[in-house]
C-alpha cells in the first residue's frame, strides 16, 4: 500500500512538475499562431525527455553519479568546462524566466506591478532552498502544479468543434506563417519539452533521495506515466489558445493572454485556479532550475553538494545558488520582458541539449559505470534516433532564429 501511494505521488508530482514557464508560454504562443499543427512536436519532445530522463536516472542509480559528475569524468576538464559554461548560462536564463513567471502570475492575481514581486519571489525561492526538505519541496509544488489541469477543463467547457480541432493537428504550415517560422517554433516547443535542467535536476534528485537499483522501477513508472500526462497538459494549453486566440487573431505576447482562454471557458473560479497553478508551476521550476545551477557547478568542480547536507556542509553549493538568484534578479530589474526571456531560453535549451545528452548516452552504455544495467538494444535504437533529432534541432536553431527574427 505504501509503495502504491509512493508511485501515485511520484506520478502526480511528475505531471505537476512537467509544466514550467517555458511550456506555458511556448505552447500558448504556438497554439495562438499555428493552431494544433505543431502538436506533433510535443509528442516528439515528451518521448525524448522520457528517454533522456530514464537514461540519466539509471546512470544516477547504478553509478551514484549525477549528470555533471559524469560529464566531467568522461569529457575531461577542458571539454567539460565548455559544456558547463553553455549549460550553466542557459540554466541561468531559465532561472530568470521562472522568477519572472512567478512575478507575472502574482501581478495578474494582485494588480501589483510584477517588478515589485520579483525580489519577493527570489527571496521565497531562496528560503525554500535553504530550509525546506527536498521531498516536501518536490511534492508540494508538484501537487499544486496539478491545478493546471484547469487548462484541460477549460478546453472542454469552451465546447470547441472537436472534429475541426482534430483536423488542425495535421502537420502543415498555416497560410499566414512561413516555413522558417514554423520550424523555428517547432524547435522552441521541442526545447521547452526537453529542457536540460529537468535532467540535471532529475539525476541529482536521484542522488539526493538515495536511489538504488531497486528504486528504478518506480522512477521509470514516474517518468513513463507522469511525463506523457504532463505533455497532455501542454497540449491542453495549446488547444485553449488555438480555440480562443487563433480565431480572434491574437498572438500571445504576455502571460495574461496565456490565461485568457481559461477565463473565458471556466470563469472566475477557473481564473483563480489557473493563477494558483501558474504560481506553483513556476515556483517549482524556479526551485528546480536554481538547484540545477548549484548542482552543475558543484558537480563539475567537485564541491560537496545536495540538500541532504546542512547548508554549512555545502557552503559553496548554497553560495553559488544565492549568486545565481541575484544575477537573475539583476537581469529582471532591467525591465526586460520575462516572456521574451522565456522564448529565448527554450530555444537556447535546444541548442545546448546535445552537450548533456551525448555524455549520458555514452555512459549509459558503459558497463564500468552501469554493470548489467547498460542500455538495451531497443533503448539504444531510440536513443540514437533522438541523438540525430537533437543534433539537427541544435544546429538549425540559431540560423532559424536569425532568418525569422526570433519568430517575429
Amino acid at each position: 500500500m505504501k509503495r502504491l501511494l509512493g508511485v501515485a505521488l511520484g506520478i502526480l508530482t511528475a505531471i505537476g512538475g512537467f509544466v514550467d514557464i517555458g511550456d506555458l508560454v511556448t505552447n500558448a504562443v504556438v497554439g495562438s499562431r499555428f493552431g494544433l499543427s505543431l502538436i506533433w512536436v510535443v509528442v516528439v519532445g515528451v518521448v525524448g525527455i522520457c528517454v533522456f530522463a530514464n537514461m540519466s536516472g539509471r546512470v544516477a542509480a547504478a553509478s551514484g553519479r549525477a549528470t555533471f559528475e559524469v560529464i566531467r569524468e568522461r569529457l575531461g576538464p577542458r571539454a567539460g568546462l565548455a559544456n558547463l559554461s553553455a549549460s550553466f548560462l542557459i540554466n541561468l536564463m531559465t532561472v530568470t524566466a521562472e522568477i519572472g513567471g512567478i512575478a507575472l502570475a502574482l501581478q495578474l492575481a494582485s494588480s501589483v506591478n510584477y517588478l515589485l514581486w520579483i525580489p519577493l519571489a527570489a527571496v521565497a525561492v531562496w528560503l525554500v532552498i535553504w530550509r525546506v526538505k527536498f521531498s516536501i519541496m518536490e511534492n508540494v509544488t508538484g501537487l499544486l502544479g496539478l491545478t493546471l489541469i484547469v487548462f484541460a477543463v477549460a478546453l472542454f467547457l469552451l465546447k470547441p468543434d472537436w472534429g475541426n480541432l482534430a483536423s488542425q493537428a495535421i502537420p502543415a504550415v498555416p497560410a499566414e506563417e512561413t516555413g522558417a517560422t514554423y520550424w523555428y517554433f517547432a524547435i522552441a516547443l521541442f526545447g521547452a519539452a526537453m529542457t536540460p535542467y529537468e535532467v540535471f535536476f532529475f539525476s541529482s534528485g536521484a542522488v539526493e533521495e538515495g536511489w538504488k537499483i531497486k528504486d528504478l522501477i518506480q522512477s521509470r513508472i514516474n517518468v513513463l506515466v507522469g511525463f506523457p500526462l504532463g505533455g497532455l497538459l501542454s497540449v491542453a494549453i495549446a488547444g485553449c489558445a488555438a480555440v480562443v486566440l487563433l480565431p480572434a487573431g491574437i498572438s500571445v505576447t504576455s502571460l495574461s493572454q496565456v490565461i485568457l482562454p481559461v477565463a473565458e471557458g471556466a470563469g472566475k473560479l477557473g481564473l483563480a485556479v489557473v493563477l494558483l497553478g501558474i504560481v506553483a508551476a513556476t515556483f517549482g521550476a524556479a526551485l528546480e532550475t536554481t538547484l540545477s545551477s548549484g548542482y552543475t557547478l558543484a558537480q563539475f568542480f567537485g564541491w560537496s553538494w545536495g540538500k541532504f547536507r546542512a547548508p554549512a556542509q555545502a557552503a559553496r553549493f548554497h553560495l553559488a545558488m544565492i549568486i545565481c538568484l541575484l544575477v537573475g534578479l539583476g537581469v529582471l530589474a532591467t525591465g526586460v520582458d520575462p516572456v521574451l526571456v522565456t522564448e529565448y531560453s527554450v530555444v537556447f535549451s535546444a541548442v545546448a541539449l546535445p552537450l548533456t545528452y551525448l555524455p549520458i548516452l555514452i555512459v549509459a552504455n558503459d558497463p564500468q559505470y552501469m554493470g548489467q544495467h547498460v542500455n538495451g538494444r531497443g533503448v539504444n535504437v531510440v536513443a540514437m534516433v533522438y541523438l540525430v533529432v537533437i543534433l539537427v534541432a541544435s544546429l538549425a536553431a540559431i540560423p532559424l532564429m536569425i532568418v525569422t527574427g526570433a519568430g517575429a
Binding site: R78, L361, I362, P367, Q368, N380
Partner: protein, 115 residues
C-alpha cells in the same frame, strides 16, 4: 608543467617526423602506498595522428554500443599508438620527441581498463 599543458602537444620521432599529438596519458597506481590509494606513476602517452580529442572511453575494446558512435570515435583516432615513458627522449613545451627505435603499442584497453 602540468599534464593539461602536455595534452595536444605535437609528437615527433628522432628524425623530426611528426607523428601526431598527445591525446592521453596513462598511469599505473603502483607507487608508495598511502591510506586511500598508492601514488600514481606515469606509464606513457597515447599519440593520435588525426585528433587529440577525448576517446570518450572507447579505447576499451569491449565497448561496442551504441552503434555507430564507437566506430566513429575509433575512426577519428585511427593510427593512434601508446609509447612507454622509457621511450620518450624530450618532453618540451612545444613538442615531445621519442627515442630512436621506440615501440608503438596498441592504445586499446580491455573491458576493465587494463592493458
Amino acid at each position: 608543467m602540468i599534464l593539461g599543458d602536455l595534452l595536444g602537444t605535437p609528437v615527433h620521432d628522432d628524425d623530426g617526423v611528426r607523428l601526431g599529438r598527445v591525446a592521453d596519458a596513462r598511469f599505473v597506481v603502483d607507487g608508495a602506498p598511502h591510506r586511500l590509494m598508492a601514488d600514481a606513476r606515469l606509464l606513457g602517452l597515447v599519440v593520435s595522428p588525426h585528433s587529440w580529442s577525448s576517446f570518450m572511453g572507447y579505447e576499451r575494446n569491449s565497448l561496442t554500443q551504441p552503434w555507430p558512435l564507437p566506430q566513429l570515435l575509433r575512426w577519428r583516432h585511427r593510427g593512434s599508438f601508446f609509447v612507454m615513458w622509457e621511450d620518450i627522449a624530450v618532453l618540451g613545451d612545444r613538442s615531445v620527441r621519442l627515442r630512436r627505435g621506440y615501440t608503438a603499442y596498441s592504445p586499446a584497453l580491455d573491458g576493465s581498463g587494463q592493458e
